[in-house]
């Protein structure tokens, strides 16, 4: 079952600007390694779930996987062969707003090589270019 919010204030929302750079949630905060998006995109909940399953299946109950984004944006879609107008369509799926730099997943408790291989599998499911990162230098 794909992720979605339990309750929302409004059923539908505007599209808003997508192509921005992440100013928060763009560093490894919980785990030791992470998967960072290099492009902006709406990532559906089912895709995030597919990535999670791919990574966790590889980890085989080792380590801990964190999902850093949540699909809280309702995306509406008009049915096929429907004339334009008559108001906004029904919600089709829920998506996470992913900006360039957003951390998608994080892994803790496994060696770097294992984390890399697990996150590469998750990256294959993502609709954005991703890269494997570690914790950044802090002062």
């Amino acid at each position: 079952m794909a992720l979605m919010p339990k309750r929302v204030k409004y059923r539908k929302e505007f599209r808003r600007v997508r192509d921005r750079k992440a100013t928060k949630g763009n560093y490894v905060a919980y785990g030791d390694y992470g998967l960072q998006a290099l492009e902006g995109q709406w990532v559906p909940g089912r895709v995030l779930e597919a990535g999670r399953v791919a990574a966790q299946h590889f980890l085989k109950r080792e380590g801990r996987l964190f999902i850093r984004v949540f699909p809280d944006k309702p995306i509406s879609k008009k049915p096929l062969e429907t004339r334009m107008g008559t108001g906004k369509a029904d919600v089709d799926y829920w998506a996470a707003r992913v900006k360039a730099g957003t951390m998608l997943y994080e892994i803790a408790g496994v060696p770097e090589a294992t984390a890399r291989r697990a996150l590469v599998r998750a990256a294959m499911k993502m609709p954005v270019r991703c890269r494997f990162v570690g914790r950044r230098v802090s002062v």
């Binding site: 079952m1 992720l3 979605m4 919010p5 339990k6 309750r7 929302v8 204030k9 409004y10 059923r11 750079k21 992440a22 100013t23 763009n26 560093y27 919980y30 960072q36 290099l38 109950r61 080792e62 380590g63 801990r64 008009k78 049915p79 062969e81 429907t82 004339r83 008559t86 108001g87 369509a89 029904d90 360039a100 730099g101 803790a108 408790g109 496994v110 990162v133 914790r135 950044r136 230098v137 802090s138 002062v139």
Partner: protein
């Protein structure tokens, strides 16, 4: 400490702002600022390559030299207070330095280095969690440690080391981080109970509750009860009528939306 501290050659920035900082970066300079000791902050640039090399090495205390600038200080001891990253977190784009005296007590963060392999990690399925990777301490600049060592060899499943249990290298060092913060803990790998419950709750629901949704009036409810099939569009995803859903999920949505869609 001060003799070992790396020397950075600084130039005063005449023009400040995003554009000029960007131009400085393009020619291999790193924009920075020096402040503290009750004097005005000074915008400077440093040689990016040498500065970043030192920062990545873990250096925190530097000597700043201002050649050719009489108004600026001759040589300053500075402490690296903060670095700013670009949006990908790859490149350092700016650094903050605070003027310090060698005997001054300062607050800074030091990395935690784990020694040994935890006893509990020898059992399959256990993992080491270390939510805190650095400690904030107060100490003299000359005593500033590169890292703090924590021995985790005796940690078994369920054991933890809190920040207050970490032995600081010098007796006059003061821990600023929350003493109850977990530095290292051996836990069972896998999904936590709370996360499991959340997943189960999410699986039960097909559509989120809308807080601002209009509640139907009594008359409408009666009408709805008379013809439940017609109102199936309110939950088109996995509704109660699979046949209607299979035929055209949008068809159910039409009356709900009150529209008159035409082909």
């Amino acid at each position: 400490m001060h003799e070992k501290s790396p020397l950075l050659t600084a130039e005063k920035r005449e023009r400040i702002g995003t554009r000029y900082a960007k131009r400085d970066r393009a020619i291999g300079r790193l924009p920075a600022v020096v402040y503290g000791h009750g004097r005005d902050p000074l915008a400077i640039t440093l040689d990016a390559k040498s500065t970043l090399t030192q920062i990545h090495k873990g250096e925190k205390v530097f000597r700043l030299d201002f050649p050719g600038h009489k108004e600026a200080d001759e040589m300053q001891m500075v402490l690296l207070k903060e670095v700013q990253f670009d949006y990908l977190g790859t490149n350092i784009v700016h650094a903050d330095f605070a003027r310090v005296d060698l005997n001054e007590r300062v607050r800074t963060h030091v990395h935690i280095t784990f020694l040994g392999e935890a006893k509990g990690l020898k059992t399959a399925g256990n993992m080491l969690m270390h939510p805190v990777t650095e400690l904030e301490i107060e100490c003299r600049v000359v005593d500033l440690p590169d890292h703090v060592e924590v021995n985790i060899a005796d940690l078994d499943l369920g054991d933890m080391i809190s920040a207050s249990q970490v032995k600081l290298p010098m007796p006059d060092m003061k821990l600023i981080t929350d003493p109850n913060a977990v530095v290292a803990q051996v836990v069972l790998a896998g999904v936590s109970k709370a996360a499991e419950e959340e997943t189960v709750a999410a699986e039960g629901a097909t559509e989120p509750e809308v807080l601002t949704a209009k509640k139907p009036a009594e008359g409408e409810e009666a009408a709805k009860g008379a013809a439940p099939a017609a109102k199936g569009g309110a939950a088109p995803a996995k509704g109660a009528a699979p046949a209607a859903k299979g035929a055209a999920p949008a068809a159910g949505a039409k009356p709900a939306a009150g529209g008159d869609k035409k082909k």
